[in-house]
Structures are given as C-alpha cells and as structure tokens.
C-alpha cells in the first residue's frame, strides 16, 4: 500500500454556470521514500492533485488516502492536524512568514503542535536543518534579506521541520533561475535520500522532472503516463 493513494479521483470546479473538470478520474499510488514528480502542461491538473494530496482541497469524487488515512469526511481540525503531522509544504513563491527570521520560520511548524522533544533537542534539530540547506550564516536574517534560492532553501528546511512523511512542492523552481532551481531540486533529492522522506513535486520543466524516480504525467486532468525508475542524483549538475 502506497503512502499516497488516489483512486478514481475527480475534481469539478463551478465557475458561475460553467463546470470545470480539473481532474477527471485519476488513480495512482506513491510509495514511501519516492521522489515523485507530477508533470504536465498548464491546466493539466497538477496543482489540483497536489492540493488534494495536501488536504487543502477535497475531491468531488473518489478516494484520497494519505499515510493510510482517507481524507474524505474529515473536519477542518483533523485535516489541519493531518497536514501538520504528516505533510510538509514547499511553495512556488516560498511563502515564508516575513516578520520571522530564518531560524524562526523553520521553528514555526514545531510551535503549532505539541513536540515532545526538549528545547535543546529542537534547537539542535533546527540548526541541523539550517546547516543542511546551507544557510548556517543566515540564521537570523529575515526573508527579505535573502535571495530567491536562499528563501526556497529555508522553505525546504521548514517543510522538513516536523519530520513529515511527505513533502509536497508546487513548482518549487518556477521562480528561480535554472541553476538555482537545479540546486534546489538536488537539495530536495539529498533530503529525500538522507531522511527517507517522500517528496512529491509538480513541475513542467523536463530537465527537472528527469531527476525524479517516479513520474506521473498528466494531460487534461487524466494520468497519461505513470513511470517508476531509478533516479540519478547529480545528472543536472
């Protein structure tokens, strides 16, 4: 059984009197530890599927199961808890909290729940993450004092702070230049390998999707290809 499972999932949006069928019956499974890429052109349904996996949207029909939990019928509080405990998010525009510095942004998800670790352990874990994403010298910088690449590194560290089973990344390199984008994907791949965290990211950049070991290709709201392969770290450098 996959850590993420979608079974005949449909999503219909209503825009005025018109209905938009964003996802038309998608079925796939992602295994724990996968470095999965959801690819496809604009309007193919990538973001909608990420939203459904991320429990921030509900399917019109079908079943979405995250780490064994079916999301259908869960109340907002339970969905929020599921997001907090199981999922990490990396956004296209980084979405750091502007009034917090690097350390505080990474610490933020840990303060939303009850962490059993001591303050010292938490501090050491955050410092490890900061070092891991290469921002040891920028610990107390605010997000507006960082470059785009640095911001996305903070976002990756924040997504990993609660040690989630799954990290979702919506077009994580879209706002970065190609070189920085490659380094970000490499970082994600490194974290995937070191922490055995499942990464699922959407992209329409072919060079980036090649690093993924599981590629789900979408077109017009349907899966047109679901490929599993051995990824080669460093292909992009």
């Amino acid at each position: 059984m996959g850590i993420v499972e979608l079974e005949n999932v449909k999503k219909v949006y209503t825009l005025g009197k018109a209905e938009v069928h964003a996802v038309r019956g998608v079925t796939f499974s992602i295994e724990k530890g996968d470095f999965a890429s959801i690819v496809g052109p604009s309007g193919s349904g990538k973001s909608t599927i990420l939203n459904l996996i991320g429990c921030i949207d509900q399917p019109t029909d079908g079943i979405v199961s995250i780490n064994g939990t079916v999301t259908d019928g869960l109340k907002d509080k339970a969905l929020t808890r599921l997001r907090h405990e199981t999922l990490g998010f990396i956004f296209q525009s980084f979405n750091l909290i502007p009034v917090l510095n690097v350390y505080e942004n990474i610490e933020f998800p840990l303060l939303l729940g009850k962490d059993k670790r001591s303050k010292k352990e938490i501090r050491e874990w955050i410092e490890f993450l900061v070092e891991a994403v290469g921002l040891g010298d920028h610990m107390h910088h605010k997000s507006n004092e960082l470059s785009g690449g640095q911001r996305q590194r903070v976002a990756i560290a924040r997504a990993l702070a609660t040690k989630p089973e799954i990290v979702l990344a919506d077009e994580p390199t879209a706002n970065l230049d190609s070189k920085t984008g490659q380094s970000i994907i490499e970082l994600m791949k490194k974290m995937n390998a070191e922490l055995n965290t499942t990464f699922i990211f959407s992209t329409h950049d072919r060079t980036i999707m090649d690093i993924a070991d599981h590629v789900i290709q979408l077109l017009d709201g349907l899966v047109v290809e679901d490929t599993k392969r051995s990824a080669k770290v460093g292909n992009l450098s």
Partner: protein, 496 residues
C-alpha cells in the same frame, strides 16, 4: 503563545502606517474618554460633595410616598394635588437615628412653596425651607452667608429672604427690603386650600454655593412653614355622608347648586339690613359649630416632612438604608429613606443627564472608531491572506490565526490606551492647575460649583480601557471572521 505574540508584535511594527492610524484613533479615543469621564466624575463628585455638605446630608427620611419626592417637595405632575407626607412617629425615628453609631447628626426640615405679596401686589414666588436655626447651623455650618439681619431667635418667627428673591421683589416695589419689613406669603393647593401668613423679614442671605433652584429658596421659621404647608391638627378631608343625609340633600351636583342662584351676581349682591346693625356675634352664630375650623388652624407642632441625616462616612450609606428600612418594618412606621441624589432634586440630577449625553456621544465615537479600525484591519488581513493561508497549510489551526489577529489588536489597544491615559492625565493635570471657570449658570450646575478642577479618576481609566478593549475586540470580529474563512488554498493561489 510566544510565537503568536512575536508575530503579532512584529506585524504591528512591520505595518507602521496601519498601526499608526489605528493606534492614533485608539489613543485619541482613550484620551477623550479619560478626560471626559474624569471631568464628569469630578463634576459629579463636586455636586455630591456640595449637596451633602450644604443641603441634603447623606440621607433623607420622609413619610412613605410614591412619586418624585425631593427636599423641594414633589417634583412631578402630582405636586399640586398632594401634600408632602409627614414622618410618622417622628420622635421615635429621631431617637433611633441618634442610637446609630455612624449617624453624625440630624436636621429636621419642612418645605413649602409660596407667592410673595405686599398689600394687594403680587411680587413673586419663593421656595421655603422650614428650619430650626440651631439644627440647621449644626449640619450646614458654612452654607449661609448673611447679607443683612440675622436668623430669628428661639421662639421667634421670621424669614431669611434669599438675595435673589429679595432683588426680584425690590425691582417691583422700587426700594430695598430691610430686616423688620413684612411680606405676605400665600400657599395654595387642592389639598390644603389657600393659606396666607404675614412674616417679618429677619434677614437677607445667599447660599455660598448655589444654583438656579437653590437661588429661589428662602429660610423660614417652622411654625409659619407648617401653616403654609397645611400641617395643622385638623384637616379638610371631604365629609362622608350617610345614606339618610345624602337622601335629605337630594341629587345635587355642582351645576344644579349654582343654577339655583340663577346668576352668580346674586351671590355678591349687597345685603340690605333694616333696623339695628348686626354685629360679629350674629355672623359667627350663622356658621354654627367652628371647632373643626379652629383645629384646621392649629399648628401640628410635632410634624416634620424631612429628617436629614449626615453620616460619619459615606460608606455607611447602604448600611444606614438597610438599618432604617428594617426599623421602619419592625415598628410598622410608614416611612422611607432616600439618598442625597433623590433628595437633591432635578437640578442636581442634571449632571447625571449631561453624563448620559456624554456617554451617548462616546458610544457614537466608539461606533465610528470601530468602523474605521475594522476597515483598516480588513485591509491588513486581506493583504496577508497568503501569509495566513500558508500558516493554515503548514498546520496552524483556525484558533491560532484568530488569536494572532486578536492579540495584534489587544497589543495595539494596550499601547495606544496607555499612551492615551498618560496624555489624558497630562491634560487633566493642566486643567486642574488652571481650573475651569463656569461662564454661566448652566455650566455652574454641571460643574457643581463656580470652578471645576477635574482630577484623574481611577474608574474613568478602567472604563476607558474597557471601552477601548471592547472597541478593539469588536473591530477585529469581522477581520477575524475573514481570517477564519481563509483556506490554505489561498497560500497556493498567492504563491502562483
């Protein structure tokens, strides 16, 4: 909690313009509240102080009655239709009052209204306080400033005419009234009928602290006031006729009675008498038995309408009211207590009315402030939709973001409120030093004296903080509702 406070505080610093706008509104609002409420409290305290010290004492005991009974008599629509009740078992009540350790002194008093005339000329009206000079002096020692003459002596009668009333009369008669001059005082009511007394002026005085109502009050000996107030041994209640008497009189009503004369002129036609002249004895014999009439002119010497009580400390007021109520109930005495505010009458209560108006204005300002603050917060929250959505996406419950918005408002309210209180205190300190002079009678009534020196009152500070916190919290309800509805999807949308 720490992260909520950190984010709230930094957001306030980050959005300086918004913080400044809301902060300024709150600061000015609380400053106005502190100054306004302290001003009103000082004025109210001034009025209370000077009424208790000079006119009413802390407590007034009267006979049991419904309606708006004050030291000036009934001040409602029934004033002409009923007499101020006497205190039943007065001696017993006074004796009990003197046994209470917290009662400092007592002063019995009467009141009546009278028209003033000289010969056939009607000169004006005055409110009369019937007093015993020694008792009155003992309780209100510094209240009266004698301008001419003196109080009447023990066993004597007389009136101390208020300077304002004296001037009103002097304008009409064209010369200055002096002690020893006599004036006619006429009272009239549907209960006591018409009563006239000629009273000698013992002196002219003015109250040291007065107002438009007190300016009309003159002080008179109790014997004459009792007479004018109809406080006599007999009474003129309607006679109950037996059925036989009623049958003998037949069905007579007022109209048929007067119709029988054909014309009212018949009543006033000159009486033509032939033969020997008829003396007083003849006329009095016509009146028959006159005992009832005589009794209706005999003063009820033990009767009092008011017993004013000064307590050793105002804090005993409630206890005194409870103790007296218990005493009246146990001894079956139909009497009641009224506090100084009820005793003082409508003019003293005007300050409360003004305070009510002020509070109404404050409420309106608060509503406007809520709207402005709410709009600013809505803009602020809308601008941060992506940020809030991100928080929700990465695991912040709705309660977290709600607390964050509320704390932002609370922190801002606290800071703006504190600055407002400090500035308000500064304004009050300056006003206290300068002293606000009442330019006219109306303002003097509100001030409770000719000069008001407002002082910072703790209650106004507490009230102002409560108001500003309520304004802050109410203002954040709608923005918070927007926040609560913010879906984590917003984070994704704002990210794209």
């Amino acid at each position: 909690m720490r992260i909520i406070l950190t984010i709230a505080w930094r957001n306030l610093r980050e959005h300086k313009v918004k913080t400044l706008i809301i902060g300024l509104i709150m600061m000015i609002g609380i400053m106005v509240l502190v100054v306004g409420n302290s001003f009103m409290d000082s004025a109210a305290a001034g009025i209370e102080r000077y009424y208790i010290q000079n006119y009413t004492g802390h407590l007034m005991i009267t006979g049991e009655s419904k309606g708006y009974l004050t030291l000036f008599g009934f001040q409602d629509m029934t004033a002409m239709e009923r007499a101020v009740p006497r205190i039943p078992d007065y001696a017993e009540v006074v004796e009990y009052a003197r046994t209470l350790p917290y009662v400092e002194m007592v002063n019995p008093q009467l009141s009546a209204n009278a028209m003033v005339s000289r010969g056939d000329e009607m000169l004006g009206i005055t409110q009369l306080f019937g007093i015993v000079p020694d008792d009155y002096h003992a309780m209100f020692a510094d209240n009266v400033e004698l301008l001419a003459g003196d109080f009447w002596g023990p066993g004597e009668q007389g009136i101390l005419l208020n300077k304002v009333v004296a001037e009103m009369i002097e304008k009409q008669i064209g010369f200055t009234l002096r002690p020893g001059d006599k004036l006619l005082f006429t009272s009239a009511s549907t209960i006591t009928g018409m009563r006239i007394r000629e009273v000698e002026i013992a002196g002219i005085f003015q109250f040291k602290q007065s107002n438009i109502q007190l300016d009309m009050v003159s002080l008179m000996d109790v014997s004459n006031v009792r007479a004018l107030a109809g406080m006599v041994v007999g009474h003129a209640a309607p006679v109950d006729l037996s059925p036989e008497e009623q049958s003998f009189l037949g069905a007579i009503d007022e109209e048929s009675l007067f119709d029988s004369f054909g014309s009212l002129d018949a009543l006033f036609a000159p009486v033509e008498v032939e033969g020997e002249s008829i003396g007083d004895d003849y006329w009095f014999s016509l009146l028959g038995e006159t005992e009832s009439r005589d009794l209706s002119n005999v003063e009820d010497t033990g009767a009092w309408q008011y017993l004013l009580i000064r307590l050793t400390d105002e804090s005993y007021l409630k206890q005194a009211q409870v103790d007296f109520a218990k005493f009246f109930a146990e001894h079956n005495i139909p009497a009641q207590t009224r506090d100084w505010m009820q005793a003082a009458g409508s003019i003293a209560q005007l300050s409360n009315g003004v305070k009510g108006i002020f509070n109404g204005v404050v409420f309106l300002i608060a509503v406007v402030a809520v709207i402005i603050i709410m709009n600013t917060l809505v803009i602020s929250v809308t601008e941060r939709m992506g940020e809030i959505g991100t928080m929700r996406a990465i695991g912040a419950q709705k309660g977290f973001v709600r607390r964050m918005v509320v704390w932002e408002t609370l922190i801002l309210s606290g800071i703006a409120g504190t600055i407002g209180v400090v500035l308000g205190s500064l304004v009050l300190f300056i006003l206290n030093r300068i002293g606000l002079e009442a330019g006219n009678m109306f303002v003097e009534i509100i001030y409770g004296g000719p000069v008001l020196r407002p002082e910072l009152s703790v209650s106004s500070v507490i009230l102002s903080f409560v108001v500003i916190l309520v304004v802050g919290i109410v203002s954040s309800i709608y923005p918070t509702a927007i926040v609560m509805k913010t879906s984590p999807l917003k984070a994704m949308e704002s990210s794209r």
